[in-house]
Amino acid sequence: MVTQPLRESARKAVDGASVIEIERISKRFRSAEGAEVTALDEVSLKISAGRFTTLLGPSGCGKTTLLRAIAGFEDPDAGRILLGGADITRTPPFERPVNTVFQHYALFPHLSVEENVAYGLEVTGVARSTIRPRVAEALELVRLGGLGNRRIAQLSGGQQQRVALARSLVLQPEVLLLDEPMAALDRNLRKEMQVELKRLQNEVKIAFLCVTHDQEEALSMSDTVVVMNRGRVEQIGSPRDIYERPASRFVAGFVGDAALIDGTVTGADASGAALALADGSVIQTRKADLAAGSPATAVLRPDRLTLLADGREAPHVLTGQVRSAIYLGDKIRLDADVAGCGVVVLCNGAAEVPAAGATVRLAYDPADVQVVTQ
């Protein structure tokens, strides 16, 4: 057998084609108190070859359960998991060409770094002569060359994570599953490892499916973000899609700061619509195809609202009361109340800091107003 270099490994699936298809899988648990918990509720998802996909959602929304179902550690109650078109829903974990970087890495404490990385090759019957070079290459890839003889207990958290990555990547899985890989690292290291993880993924071109509850991490690392909430998929899209065109109130609120202003659609036509707010004022949007009379929520990012100085006018203005204002140097962070809804505004630091309780006028551009209806 010829050693296949990890970097140029000939992946079976073409870049962008889906390697894993998840079809409407559901999973319920019975909690210790006997109550039923729906961890996954008809989740459907495609994972593309060679891409970085992130599962983003609050704690307890079913991310780990979904990952474990793909790895083979949870039996879904309903639905199918396809790998390259073949049904692997009932395949035991040790027969799936999928590997996991566990949340706390789960490295074997009785084996050295090298032995940990060699483990998967040895147990799957890879020819002995090719194991050494492949292990060395994998360690080189995660920049741990020279630490092969260390014991696991002698490594720092960041180094342990690299061993876990090498241990999985050396097997050239169809998909690498990562469960909150940064959770156990301190803040500075986390930033560094985000860059590192992205570099690795670019280099090996293996599909990564990475779980996180940190929206910044999700936006910065991924090609595709899957937002989950309460066991359901809320939205699948590029980081830009998710941020700029949220599909639901939940996504808009979870991904980044946003002003969420509830109202009712009035005067909708092909060029846009207006939302009537609780205080009788109106907010304009360029979003078309809204049903008049239905409830909807306007979504405005904090940097898209401008504080209007006295005497200045703008075509589109909202009026609100200041709850608090914080001077941040280059910016002022304003928490205001507009028509009973909390609104965050980041405005130019040169402006005067308004006092709490003061009435402020906020200018906006209807093109920046996103609308979600659920």
Binding site: G72, P92, P93, H104, L107, F108, E115, Y119
Partner: protein, 306 residues
């Protein structure tokens, strides 16, 4: 391997206070264990007294007898009978330990993986036999295994056999009763080891492509090895010296080390000979303990490379 790091002063102080805490148990051990042990060793090289006890005159003849050397004064020729006794006892004790391991491991696994609140109840059940006097338990086994006992009656009633089987007074019966008797000594250390085993490591092994048996051999056994070694020693050692089971269940048909000992002290009144048997038994126990410590360090250090 890495070099031993220099010991800091705080570390040295910590070790010293650790030693201080050991003092009471060390003293207790010295009085109740080392002194009698020394006494037995001294007795073993003395001359036999006529009505028990010893005459204070050095004589290595007890060892000569055990090792089968001839002695012209006693008209004794070469005789290797005691090798057979030790060997048979070792086989029976070894089988007892191995069977206890095979039976005990799944039980310990089951308890360690049961819901936390149910574990202490299950552990209590495992130790339940300890609440009954050892002799009573042995008599219970005799009642079960006798030719007109419970086991034979059930087999006859089920029609599986026509004639009662010879169950009691066989090596199998001895092993069965000892496995029963020492099973808690196997299950408890195994439980302690298995409970400490992180289930995610088992999942990681599956994830990396190792099927169940490979995972058991390469991850579960090495990581629970301290419990396995402790269990083996804790069952092998008392099984080796046991004299109740060979006497009552085995019917003393074949001599074992335990029976040999009891006879030497109680009926033959040959204290030096009994003491010599005890000393050799002590050496075997010591070897078993060294095996445990050694293999433990081996498993922790090198991993299962097989």
């Amino acid at each position: 391997m890495s070099a031993t790091p220099p010991i800091s002063r705080a570390e040295r102080r910590r070790r010293q206070s650790g030693l201080a805490l050991l003092t009471p148990s060390a003293l207790l051990l010295a009085c109740l264990f080392l002194v009698p042990l020394g006494l037995v060793t001294v007795y073993s090289v003395m001359t036999r007294g006529t009505y028990g006890g010893v005459v204070w005159q050095i004589d290595f003849d007890s060892y000569a007898r055990i090792f089968g050397l001839p002695n012209e004064d006693e008209l004794r020729d070469w005789d290797f009978i005691y090798y057979g006794v030790f060997l048979r006892t070792a086989v029976i004790a070894g089988l007892t330990a191995l069977i206890a391991l095979v039976v005990g491991y799944p039980a310990a696994w089951f308890i360690a993986r049961a819901p936390r609140r149910r574990r202490s109840a299950l552990l209590l059940l495992i130790t339940l036999p300890f609440f009954v006097n050892a002799l009573v338990r042995i008599y219970a086994w005799m009642l079960i295994l006798r030719s007109d006992g419970l086991a034979n009656n059930i087999l006859l009633w089920l029609g599986l056999i026509k004639e009662p089987l010879t169950l009691i007074y066989t090596p199998g019966a001895i092993i069965l009763s000892m496995v029963y008797q020492y099973l808690p000594f196997m299950v408890l250390p195994l439980y302690a080891s298995i409970e400490k085993l992180d289930p995610r490591l088992v999942e990681a092994s599956f994830d990396l492509g190792a099927a169940r048996l490979t995972t058991f051999r390469r991850v579960i056994v090495p990581l629970t090895w301290p419990g396995i070694a402790a269990g083996l020693v804790l069952t092998f050692v008392p099984a080796f010296g046991n004299f109740i089971a060979p006497t009552l269940i085995g019917g003393s048909k074949q001599l074992q080390v335990g029976t040999l000992l009891a006879q030497a002290f109680l009926s033959a009144r040959d204290w030096p000979f009994g003491a010599a048997v005890s000393t050799i038994l002590g050496v075997i126990v010591l070897v078993a303990l060294i095996f445990m410590v050694r293999s433990d360090r081996g498993a922790a250090g090198k991993g299962a490379r097989s």
